[in-house]
Symmetry: C2
Subunit: 338 residues, 2 copies
DNA sequence: ACTGGCACTCGGACCGGTGGAGTGCCAGGC
DNA sequence: GCCTGGCACTCCACCGGTCCGAGTGCCAGT
């Protein structure tokens, strides 16, 4: 195990490098941090840290920069989560309180997060298998054409058009609507299939086809509803990324456009608590030089979706984590209120 | 007026510069284009073109590059719209035909356009004041809580929750629903306000408050519905932009995130026919080094929204215009079918 | 175990020279 | 009058060399 001081040296290196973006040398370190030892000693420590793979040299006779492994150790053992200042908290609250609907909440959140962290923000729409059904509505648009509207407890509304095989009477429609609602309202998506399984049996022979169709559309919608949508913001912050632009930024932009990738990434994050994925831990190669800080958020005790930021591995982890956590909490509050 | 040959020289300069990204000199020009005159003559023509402001030199003794004004002339007088190749057409059709709903159509369109033009694509959701109401639904979620669902002919669905002052009976609800629909279905958004103006009068005194509330929410929704949403894709193509990255790309990314700006930009484009805004014509300073090619599209004869691309002023105008126009047409077809 | 000293390395900044592409101008030819 | 070839000039991009300093590893001394 590394000695206390060596950890301290690593922390100092990370902090300085994050601040200056330049490889940090032994002398500069001792000047900026009161390590109580001479540069020579620090050099020895650095040699050890390098051997262990926590730091690296871009080239001989240059300072050191942290490796992914170094950041990992920093995040796990050395860094706390920096709480936001109270003006910042107030700003968050003010900013989010003005939201008028779910889209607006998500939109504001993504902008807020991007601004706060000065990085790329990613916010997933709240909706998960854990969501419950608030209401199901069935309308007849034409004799053999229905519309199904599904409202979830997270405030999302989905609608589907259904072409029936034959005409479907107003009475049957009302009947189906009532039965459907009495069975599924308040239930979780995941439980719905078995709850409606036997519904067709209680209808007249001639209506069963349509009822089955409606049910299958409903189930399909529920599945799709668990597919997540997400919103991205603050891509302009990518320009702060590094020096060698085209090569660095390009794959990141590409990765960001593949929502599937991002969703997977967020999905891998732990449901509760904050997850930090650093550099190559991200699997997707376009994001090899980025870190992703993600956290679940939700209206109640359980998280219903994730949000986070994507930034260079060289980021201010404590600050970023603080901002992400704070935003997630406030958004959760807003969702709970509405 | 410029002589025929000078226009030809300008065209050649634009074409070469777009291709090579490097200032083009008189010798290279005569070698690559059969102008039938010597470099010296071309130099004289260039001097005139420069004096008139169509081209400029980055520095003395360098080749010339077109100015915004030069591109303008090129687009207006010298460039045609390059039709797509038939494989390209087929690719478009195949790609768009798989779409399952409106979101999917828009999503596919933006990706397609980005890929085809290798630039940033912007697609506005189809919905305008010209849209008509397909259906209005009213549901009682709780005794004093209603939900209003609005369906437009472009396939969009909006819902709003309404808290009533007092209870609102099922009969009144059905009544209101029926009257509302009979008045507004098939009508344009813009016409709705006057069509429903006197509706409260035909209800019992005790229901009038609620009816008024419902109507005002409906009108509000209609107004919001004319606010446009848009989707952006292909931002990774910005990396192909130029050499001096951070400075060039940054303001563009920022502009792209301000949807309001983009909407205004698209809105300024002519309703039908293609509009090309070059460089500083774009007003928004972040887009001073970009050109925007936009065109309206729609399901019927009238355009209901716009789509287009944002790229460097140094872009292949004929090709881009061809792609934009073709995509708009196919999307229109798809929308008309569904 | 830490420190100061020392020799070494290497990249980045600075500099001056060179080559080439491009220009403007002018005198001559169709 | 317009086009052309020639010529002198300009300026940037590139190249190689030099220099400087930050940083390192190692070692001997406390």
């Amino acid at each position: 195990m590394l000695s206390e001081r060596r950890l301290e040296v690593l922390r100092a290196i990370v902090q300085d490098y994050v601040g200056t973006e330049e490889p940090v040398g032994s002398k500069a370190l001792t000047e900026r941090h009161r390590l109580g030892v001479s540069p020579a000693t620090v050099r020895n420590d650095m040699a050890v840290l390098e051997e262990e793979g926590f730091i690296a040299q871009p080239h001989t006779s240059a300072g050191r920069i942290p490796t992914d492994k170094g950041y990992r150790l920093f995040v796990d053992k050395l860094a706390g989560v920096k709480p936001l200042s109270s003006p910042e908290r107030r700003a968050i609250q003010n900013f989010l309180d003005g939201a008028v609907d779910l889209d607006d909440v998500v939109g504001r959140t993504v902008r807020l997060l991007a601004q706060l962290t000065r990085q790329v923000a990613v916010v997933q729409y709240p909706s998960l298998t854990r969501s419950t059904v608030r209401h199901v509505e069935l309308l007849a648009l034409a004799p053999a054409r229905l519309m199904l509207v599904l409202i979830t407890d997270t405030g999302r509304v989905e609608q589907r058009l259904i072409d029936c095989q034959g005409p479907f009477g107003e009475a049957s429609l009302a009947d189906l609507r009532a039965r459907l609602n009495s069975r599924v309202v308040g239930r979780r998506f995941a439980d719905v299939p078995q709850l409606v399984q036997d519904l067709p049996d209680s209808f007249e022979q001639e209506d069963r086809g349509t009822v089955s169709t409606v049910l299958s559309v409903l189930l399909e919608t529920l599945v799709e509803e668990t597919e997540e949508r997400l919103v991205i913001g603050g891509t302009a912050n990518l320009t702060r990324f590094g020096h060698d632009f085209p090569l660095t930024i390009r794959p990141v932009l590409e990765a960001l456009e593949e929502h599937v990738v991002l969703l997977k990434l967020l999905g891998e994050a732990k449901d509760s608590g904050m997850t930090v994925r650093i550099g190559h831990e991200n699997a997707h190669e376009g994001l090899a030089s980025t870190s992703v800080v993600a956290v679940g958020y939700g209206s109640g005790d359980e998280a219903v979706a994730k949000l986070g930021v994507v930034g260079p591995t060289r980021m201010d982890y404590p600050g970023t984590m603080g901002a992400v956590r704070a935003v997630a909490r406030y958004v959760g509050q807003i969702l709970a209120e509405s």
